[in-house]
């Protein structure tokens, strides 16, 4: 599905990613973990085209995509959420989810302005899909609310609905439970498990180790922009390098 080959990126002279390589198999949940500043969000930005990689390549279904702009990568079926929510506060919840179907919607200005029956039909289909996605994430009742009026936890779920609504090939989740309480975290974990059983491929950046161990098929560990370990969650958990770089440090601060 997704393959990274020696991906590197620098911010000025500072290396943010160095020779990162790993693969994501279809239908699997891969968790990307590592201490703060390890380069996890940078990596997600590079995959989704928000940032440019400076060396190495990103292959999506064997096709190099590292030079493509974000909107083209989205069109190839990569959806994402953002660490700091990026919902459109002026739009309703439903319209927010509908923006997740931009790629499936009519793009011509002229056709949209005419609003012929074919377009009305398409719009109706898209609305049904968006409502279905909202229902999946337990938000159907709030479809017509302004997005700005939702709680933080609800906004996180709207963002996930927006990412999953288009049935993307790959979903990048950037810290989906950051800032949520235990109950909301459990809820998100349920949603992630459900999307995995529906066959979705996900790359999950997360600090919450409990969630990672629970939902991930594969764990990749970044430290200072380097990939220091990858493999099954249990194997990674007992990897001495990881314990030293990440879990060890967590114990020290906890």
């Amino acid at each position: 599905m997704l393959e990274l080959r020696n991906v590197s990126k620098w911010f000025g002279g500072l290396p943010a990613l160095q020779d990162v390589s790993f693969r994501i198999a279809p239908g699997q949940v891969t968790a990307l973990i590592g201490p703060n500043g390890a380069g996890k969000s940078t990596l997600i930005n590079c995959i989704s085209g928000v940032d440019r990689v400076q060396a190495g390549s990103v292959l999506l279904a064997r096709r190099p995509v590292e030079a493509l702009p974000a909107f083209k990568i989205a069109a190839l079926g990569v959806a994402r959420t953002f660490q700091n929510l990026k919902l459109f506060s002026r739009l309703t919840v439903l319209d927010n989810v509908l923006t997740g179907l931009t790629v499936a919607a009519e793009r011509s200005f002229a056709v949209s302005m005419m609003r012929l029956p074919a377009l009305r039909h398409q719009e109706r289909q898209l609305r049904l899909r968006a409502l279905k996605a909202l229902d999946d994430f337990g938000l159907a009742k709030k479809a017509h609310w302004p997005a700005s009026s939702l709680s933080y936890g609800e906004k996180k779920r709207v963002e996930m609905a927006r990412a999953f609504v288009s049935d993307p090939r790959l979903v990048l989740l950037d810290e989906p439970v950051a800032g949520l309480n235990t109950e909301e975290t459990a809820q998100i974990a349920r949603h992630i498990r459900r999307q995995r059983s529906a066959g979705h491929t996900m790359l999950l950046v997360e600090h919450d180790m409990e969630l990672v161990m629970e939902v991930a098929d594969q764990v990749v560990v970044l430290d200072s922009g380097r990939c220091i370990a990858s493999g099954k969650p249990e194997a990674v958990r007992s990897n001495p390098l990881v314990l030293e770089a990440y879990l060890g440090r967590m114990e020290a601060t906890a």
Binding site: P69, A70, R90, T99, E106, F109
Partner: protein, 329 residues
């Protein structure tokens, strides 16, 4: 089980946009019967012409989240283009209007490609500069534009044997154009394209990650708004039979922006309200006409301070949020 009443309400809800347009259309058809004072009709006609410009500008400012202080320039290109095309070159009015709109689109493309790489203050300055260039050409190039004293003798528009030569005829002409523009804009914002533009206005990164080609979308909206402004300019020239540079200076551009802001960023219906209010204000407060620019500036500052989304949108949003929260409290 739905009752007839439920069905009726659902029908109204489902077709609320179309029905509102229809209702407005009926009022407009009847308007000249109720209001026969040519001066007042002239004012409502001016509102229609400005509304066509401001509808496009609201797509650009309110939906795509950009800024333009130069739309009077496209308005000028339409007006002077039609004047020169019909009088100097002797072309037929309707085809000239279309050709001029095409020229305006090309100019918008040429200006937009480099200018829309900018944003915020820089884009405001670039579009302002464009308006000043066009205005200077209108004033200086006497031989073609008539210079500061203006361009007279522009022919009335005709369809078959109907000549649009009085305020009542103008009314049906310009409001037909305004209603078509309104309908096209309402359709656009209710489509995937409109949602993409709204997304772009709030967060370019998020919009791009969702598949919106942000650069292309901005240029397209800019061109669309330029075409609408140009058509409005052509109508302006044919209705008044005379144009002079003062109708197209940067203060007119600023007034267009104020109309957008008063009506509400991203509110197509609000556009009509904002345009009407700002056009009529100097009439109501006659004594203050000489302070027009000061008052308009004051309105702009107050709205941006207290209701940054615009007067109508700001109030509607506040009410809607309050209702939603109350209902589920």
């Amino acid at each position: 089980m739905l009752t007839t009443r439920d069905n009726l309400f659902y029908f109204i809800y489902l077709h609320r946009t179309g029905l509102t347009v229809l209702a407005l259309g009926v009022v407009l058809v009847a308007w000249p019967v109720m209001e026969s004072n040519p001066y007042n009709l002239g004012l409502s006609n001016l509102i229609a012409i400005y509304a066509i410009v401001v509808l496009g500008l609201n797509l650009f400012i309110g939906y795509a989240g950009q800024i333009s202080l130069g739309h009077a320039a496209f308005f000028a290109i339409g007006a002077y283009g039609s004047a020169i095309g019909t009088v100097t070159l002797g072309g037929p009015a309707w085809p000239v209007m279309m050709a001029v709109a095409l020229v305006a689109a090309l100019i918008a493309l040429a200006v937009g490609l480099p200018a829309l790489k900018l944003s915020g203050h820089y884009l405001a300055m670039a579009t302002l500069g464009f308006n000043i260039v066009v205005y200077t050409i209108l004033v200086q190039w006497d031989a073609v534009t008539g210079g500061p004293s203006g361009f007279a003798g522009i022919p009335y528009l005709t369809i078959g044997s109907v000549v649009f030569d009085n305020e009542i005829h103008f009314h049906y002409l310009v409001w037909t154009f305004a209603m078509v523009a309104l309908l096209l804009c309402l359709n656009l914002v209710r489509s995937g394209v409109g949602r993409g533009l709204a997304a772009l206005a709030e967060d370019e990164t998020a919009a791009a990650a969702l598949g919106v080609d942000t650069r292309r979308a901005k240029v397209k909206v800019f061109i669309l708004s330029a075409v609408l402004a140009s058509v409005a300019g052509s109508l302006f020239a044919h209705c008044y039979a005379f144009v002079s540079p003062d109708s197209f200076n940067i203060f007119v551009s600023v007034d267009f922006v104020i109309m957008v802001v008063v009506g509400g960023m991203g509110s197509i219906w609000g556009t009509l309200f904002g345009t009407a209010l700002i056009t009529l204000l100097p009439e109501w407060i006659e004594a203050l006409e000489s302070f027009k620019d000061i008052i308009h500036g004051l309105i702009l500052v107050m709205i941006l301070l207290f209701l940054p989304q615009g007067l109508v949108t700001g109030i509607v949003d506040a009410v809607r949020t309050r209702i939603a929260l109350n209902r589920h409290a």
